[in-house]
Symmetry: C2
Subunit: 253 residues, 2 copies
Amino acid sequence: MVSLGSDNKSGMRLSESLEDYIEAIHKLIQEKKVARVKDIARLKGVRMASVSDAMRKLGERGLVKYEAREYIELTPEGTELARKVRVRHELLHWFFKDLLRVSAVNSEKDACTVEHALSDEGVDKLVKLYEYFHLHPERQKKLLEFLDAGSSSSNGPYVLPTVCTDKARLSDLKPGQSAKVLQIRSKGAVRQRLIDMGMLPDTQIFLERKAPTGDPIWIRMKGFQLSLRLAEADDVQVCLIDAFKDSPSESEA
Amino acid sequence: MVSLGSDNKSGMRLSESLEDYIEAIHKLIQEKKVARVKDIARLKGVRMASVSDAMRKLGERGLVKYEAREYIELTPEGTELARKVRVRHELLHWFFKDLLRVSAVNSEKDACTVEHALSDEGVDKLVKLYEYFHLHPERQKKLLEFLDAGSSSSNGPYVLPTVCTDKARLSDLKPGQSAKVLQIRSKGAVRQRLIDMGMLPDTQIFLERKAPTGDPIWIRMKGFQLSLRLAEADDVQVCLIDAFKDSPSESEA
DNA sequence: TACGTAAGGTAGCCACGCCTAACAGGAGGT
DNA sequence: ACCTCCTGTTAGGCGTGGCTACCTTACGTA
């Protein structure tokens, strides 16, 4: 899928791994003035032998100046690429850590893996998103308040804004009714499970039936069936869909 | 880096490629009722032989029901994984295409490559972002207006909001002054170049010197020097940093 | 019945990126 | 001088995931 040719010129796309090496070298040169095989190996979590291989390849592609047993330097082309990669990294790190409030460990990991797989246009637009929230700190504050609400402590301080007139909890639905997902206010494993099942905002849900006792309910969503405990359905905010509201005043909402 | 063991149970993390196969099978079953080797190969852009190999591996891991020369089915575990993967795909596609307004081709491509490289927490937070903008359509509208402004047609309909009292254009800086980047309003290749150089919002810039004629200017940013044409610097909105403002009233801004 | 064709499987090859093991050179201690 | 430690290189091996080339199976039809 990555398909590297033997062409050494800069037109050839680099594999993720080699891009990582470039990034590591750049970082080391900035921090410690020189980049040595040992340090690159430690930074990247590989053996020195692997670094030697990689340096030879990067040397052939004209991205690093590599003479055996000497300090490793980046060529101008390599430096250019390194900056590009590091910008992506920074940008994604900002996005995950500072905007989405992903934990430090995961935001670093996600930034690392995603940075190789993003088009120039994607980077460009992400920068715009950055600019947007940088220019409108009050809007970023609102978003962060929303993200923080319910993510850690409190269960109900965040009040659902009035955006949908027919809003209800999924547990309020009657068999035969349809609704669209507004917000999944569940936490932890339950939330993860619902998301994994395909429950995203705007997903259409059809309540097929309820158990006689009313507790497990069966819903249809994106073509497959799913049973839910009432307690789980309680935390899912939905918006009733008129076309399917057969009984106008039955929903207690 | 991916390191698959021979363990067939579901605890083992799948490689990107195998995850793609699962996704493709799921898609084909939904669309055409059955998944055949030939169709999977076409969808994934590989030869049938490669699909055969992959099916054997997935069969060993208990994710697909694979009997030679018969239709390929997903086991319950496989279906679960498939849904998870497709949710990621959908989510990222929404993010790139509908929120960031990345072009159709690139948003699909980015979603495809990024979907394998995102932690559960990253997915979770991305869903929250989705919920946020879904619940606050007026805020999403503002963001989209910002993203669209200058991205395609107009050069100056978007007015920089008053968020920084000392705002100026980068071209207004005097040698010796420092500033922080607010927004890069350049377009196309120039914007790309500045971003690649590491110019993100909040980046600190120091104007080292100007050419006698004033046109090329040299700035220092993140430890390296960079020369800019005045026309390029004109489109970069910055915020002066007080500590470095030696001459209080010189900046015309 | 025999045969052609298309779908699919098997074997063997290669690139990549990692590994371990063994070897090479230089700096300092004795 | 010699030994030792540390750094780095080379050689060879392995798993993954592609590929080509060839074989098998099923099926339709002359």
